[in-house]
């Protein structure tokens, strides 16, 4: 009964977000996110149908649809990057570098795993593969959020909601899959309900943040005497040097 309530509530909330997205013209601003959402609605319906009437093929349907949403999830992250850093080309380059660093780390880890004699792909179960791909997504989102925070990038309520919701979903997925890979099926049960409840929370967050379209706040224009980047860096370092000298002078014997 509880499973059905969660299932139907999820589908209902997803439908509300989609309808609000259409009415508020949010679809054109966040196409990847709405594609993801619509795909999730279809996936939920397909899973609901197979769970009740074709239980034998449910695991097969579950894992296949899970990878579909995983691939579309990558598009959502790419959209966060594109929309969030639209007016900040330099910061976008910084984020790109960080993303490459994350991919290089994952690639290095994959090579290190395959180098111990066991083929990486053979050693992977569907669950492990999903965990690893979710970690790549989580790593990318970490890099993006770190750049947003470090450079105080102004974000719209819509984008903040998308990031928060997808981030919570990714974080709980990483936790769940990591512990399930480590402990096995013993971990299932209560966690399944917890994850579903968390997903409902994410959907409520999306309903609230995507009710209307909102533009990103415009950053206050920075007027500096030297608009050149190299001069700006030199200016900052000069300020640091002054502080450093003051600190040094203060404690010099």
């Amino acid at each position: 009964m509880l499973t059905e309530v969660i299932w139907w509530s999820g589908i209902l909330l997803e439908a509300v977000i989609a309808v609000r997205g259409l009415r508020g013209k949010l679809f054109s601003h966040y196409p990847a996110f709405y594609l993801y959402l619509v795909s999730v609605v279809f996936v939920e319906i397909a899973r609901f149908y197979t769970y009740h009437w074709m239980l034998g093929i449910y695991p097969h349907v579950y894992w296949n649809t899970q990878f579909v949403s995983l691939v579309i999830g990558c598009a959502v992250i790419s959209e966060i990057y594109r929309v969030g850093l639209k007016g900040f080309p330099g910061t976008a380059r910084m984020a790109r570098n960080l993303l490459w660093f994350v991919f290089a780390l994952v690639f290095a880890k994959a090579i290190a795993t395959s180098a111990d004699g066991v083929s990486w792909w053979k050693a992977l179960t569907a669950m492990k593969l999903e965990r690893d791909l979710r970690i790549v997504q989580a790593g990318s989102l970490i890099a993006l959020v770190a750049v947003f925070l470090a450079y105080a990038i102004p974000l719209s309520r819509n984008l903040k909601g998308i990031i928060a919701g997808y981030g919570i979903f990714l974080g709980t997925s990483v936790f769940q899959l990591t512990v399930m890979v480590h402990l096995g099926a013993a971990f299932r049960g209560a966690w399944d309900y917890l994850r579903s409840a968390m997903y409902l929370f994410v959907l409520i967050l999306w309903v609230a943040s995507l009710w209307n379209y909102q533009e990103a706040p415009r950053p206050a224009h920075t007027i500096t005497l030297d608009e050149d980047y190299k001069m700006l860096v030199a200016g900052t370092r000069k300020q640091f040097q002054k502080t450093r000298l003051a600190l040094g002078k203060a404690v010099r014997p």
Binding site: G87, F88, P89, G90, T91, R93, N97, A138, L141, I142, V145, A146, L149, A150, Y151, A152, I153, P154, K160, I163, A164, G167, I168, L170, G171, T172, V174, T178, H182, P217, P219, A220, H221, T222, T224, L225, E227, D228, Y229, K230, L232, V233, G235, R237, K238, Q239, F240, Q241, K242, T243, R244, L245, A246, L247, G248, K249, A250, V251, R252, P253
Partner: protein
């Protein structure tokens, strides 16, 4: 087991960053102030002679010579309060410089990730130095920071050699005065 904790660490880091993102960003007005003018204000905030005096052992030696425990206690608490205030203020000013920098740098077309990393590292080292000074002032007398001074001068020497390279680059670019677009 390391992989297990690393995976959980990724999830945890994501939650922490999302918390900071949700906690809200500072009002977007810090960068509106020209860096050079801000520098003049900072330089005037506390004359170096006074700061040097706060940390110098001269007054401490004088109070010790007077030999009144009550005066010594009063002197120590007052001196410590002034020193802590100065360190906190310096730390805040460092944050303001960094904030002004990132707000001005974020829209630059030619933003260089390696240079940004160096600036951030320099900022981090100075913040660490402030933290170290703060702890040292709380633990020992402000006038007994000679060991820290050795570290500070060593750090200062290292930073100065790095900065010379930057100044050469900066000098090569002609200064432009305009309102910007």
């Amino acid at each position: 087991m390391i992989a297990f904790y690393a995976c959980l660490g990724v999830g945890m880091t994501l939650f922490v960053l999302l918390f900071f993102l949700g906690a809200g960003q500072a009002p977007d007005d810090g960068g509106a102030e020209p860096l050079d003018l801000a520098g003049e204000r900072r330089a005037a905030s506390c004359p170096p002679e006074i700061v040097q005096r706060v940390f110098s052992p001269q007054d401490s030696e004088y109070v010790a010579r007077v030999g009144t425990p009550r005066l010594e206690r009063f002197y120590l608490s007052e001196r410590r309060r002034v020193a802590l205030n100065w360190i906190r203020r310096t730390s805040t000013e460092l944050s303001q410089v960094m904030q002004a920098h990132v707000r001005a740098a974020r829209a630059k077309q030619d933003l260089n990730p390696a240079t940004e990393a160096k600036v951030f590292l320099q900022y981090l080292r100075l913040r660490c130095l402030c933290g170290l000074l703060l702890i040292a002032t709380l633990v020992v007398r402000p006038s007994s920071l000679q060991e820290l001074a050795i570290y500070a001068s060593e750090l200062s020497r290292q930073l100065a050699s790095g900065e010379r390279g930057f100044e050469r680059v900066a000098r090569a670019v002609p200064t432009r005065v305009h309102s910007g677009t």
